[in-house]
């Protein structure tokens, strides 16, 4: 065979192998989780708290923190995105915010944890659920900003012009036309952002820390699924490790369901 054809073949095979390697690890990790998860999962896990060997309080705690973070980060991020797209006319400030927000999106999550330790835990003198909420909000904010920025850029200019022609004021056009047009994309973005922060561990380690009991008091140490996995996995006894696997399984299933739901919504729209 001609040399260049041979090289071509080798490279194409190599790239196929790379894809196979990627898929192998995906199925390996998911497979492991399935096997371990299904072996350890039990209905009682969902009715008992960590102190009795269940994970009920952990799931509730993790979702409460991520949910409040969403409630704070979404309006703030949405408004920032609206500024970037609708009000800034791409001035210098908008360029800086847009790029720095992207940089913040990739910032190490452990550093966010350290930062919140300094501004919250160190000030109030103890770990607390609010610390976790602040940390997750900081993680989520840039993702929402970037999604809003991208989604609003997809809304056709003509829609805005039609609004102006009808005599709508700017904020009404934004709220009633632009946001409506971008609704599906924004919902997907919020779901994907939620799926990402709900699985975070590093920002919670020394902010919310963990709690063995069910609590709704965000001023006390707060139960966290991910921090529990981290703690339980290093215990030497089989029972803790089994619980860590069950918790990992539940976490991954929930995260993937939210992630896939987000993707599904957008897919339906384009049909």
């Amino acid at each position: 065979m001609e040399k260049r054809l041979l090289i071509n073949k080798i490279i194409l095979i190599a790239s196929t192998i790379s894809a196979l390697i990627g898929l192998t690890f995906l199925f390996w990790i998911l497979g492991t989780l399935m096997v371990k998860g299904l072996a350890t999962i039990h209905w009682n896990l969902f009715t008992k708290d960590l102190v009795q060997g269940g994970i009920r309080n952990l799931i509730i705690g993790q979702f409460i923190m991520a949910f409040i973070a969403t409630v704070i980060a979404v309006p703030l991020g949405l408004m920032a995105g609206i500024y970037l797209r609708e009000y800034s006319y791409n001035n210098k400030l908008a360029m800086i915010v847009r790029n720095l927000s992207d940089v913040m999106m990739s910032a190490p999550s452990i550093v966010v944890g350290v930062f919140v330790y300094a501004i919250y835990v160190d000030k109030v003198g103890h770990f607390g659920g609010w610390g976790g909420v602040i940390a997750l909000t900081i993680m989520m904010l840039p993702i929402i900003v970037s999604t809003t920025d991208n989604m609003l850029s997809l809304v056709p200019k003509e829609l805005r012009e039609a609004g102006i022609a009808l005599g709508g004021s700017k904020h009404k056009i934004i709220l009633q036309i632009v946001l409506k047009a971008a609704k599906v994309g924004l919902t997907t973005g919020v779901l994907l952002a939620f799926a990402r922060v709900v699985g975070e561990t590093a920002p919670l380690l020394f902010t919310s820390a963990n709690n063995q009991y069910l609590t709704f008091n965000l001023n006390s140490q707060f139960p966290s699924l991910t921090v529990s996995i981290y703690n339980l996995a290093t215990f030497p006894d089989k029972k803790s490790i089994a619980l860590a696997w069950a918790a990992s399984f539940v976490l991954t299933v929930l995260v993937l369901i939210i992630n896939l739901t987000g993707r599904y919504i957008t897919r339906n729209k384009h049909k």
């Binding site: 090289i7 927000s101 992207d102 550093v111 350290v114 330790y117 900081i138 996995i229 996995a233 991954t252």
Partner: protein, 282 residues
Amino acid sequence: MIGNMFKRFSLFSAISILLILAGIFVTLYIYASDSIHQFGWHFLTNSIWEVGEDDEGGVFGGLIPITGSILTTAIAMIIAVPIAMGIAVFLTEVAFPWLIKPVSIAIELLAAIPSIIYGMWGLFYFAPIIQKTFGGTGIGLLTASIVLAIMIIPFMSAITKDAMNVVPDVLKESAYAMGATKFEVIKDVIMPYSKRAIIGSVILALGRAIGETMAVAFLLGSIMRFPHKITDPTTSIPVLLANNFSEAQDLELSSMFYLALILFALSFAVISLAKFYFLRKD
């Protein structure tokens, strides 16, 4: 009136991003200042990390965790770059059209799995394999780097794929019409056209890898020692912070903040380079 308030609030929200970022830098600096004044730049070249008698004072240097961070990231990148490129090429040029969607989704799902899960899997399934194959305890530089690589591959291949997809079909088709093979099209048309974005993607993934914590927290060993072999345990900035931050006090805690500041500055610089220079958004 309402319109004006709406506009002001949107401006305030945009500025809040800058305030948070500035707040992180300033806060880390203030909390690290004891250590910065005590050790200065020598912190970067000193490998001793010792708490003083009665928990007073002590000598702290960040060389070991800094080295650990650089080594894990470098090894992970060496493994991840070719595989991620391969996946991106597969998805843009090689795969049958019906295969592209499911494989892309699968790869993106790999990116959606929380990093603590990678850590769990690495600790119980991957570390024993490394132990059997390469010796050592299974916990160390090699295991951590490989799991880190698996963690960043989906991210890197997703953005590299997007970069490659931007190449106009006309360019590729004209090369094919000249009798070019797929590899030649990739090498001579796609790569030159999307070079900048691809380099940007790789650097961005590098920025992520430096700060990745939970995937490696179990696997690197968390031991303040230089590694002599690739299977030796050591520590890195994120791993040290994850495992020892909550127990640290006074000067040691301040040194932890110093390390966090270094990590933040490092990843900030790397990601900014990627974003501002290679992946400029206009």
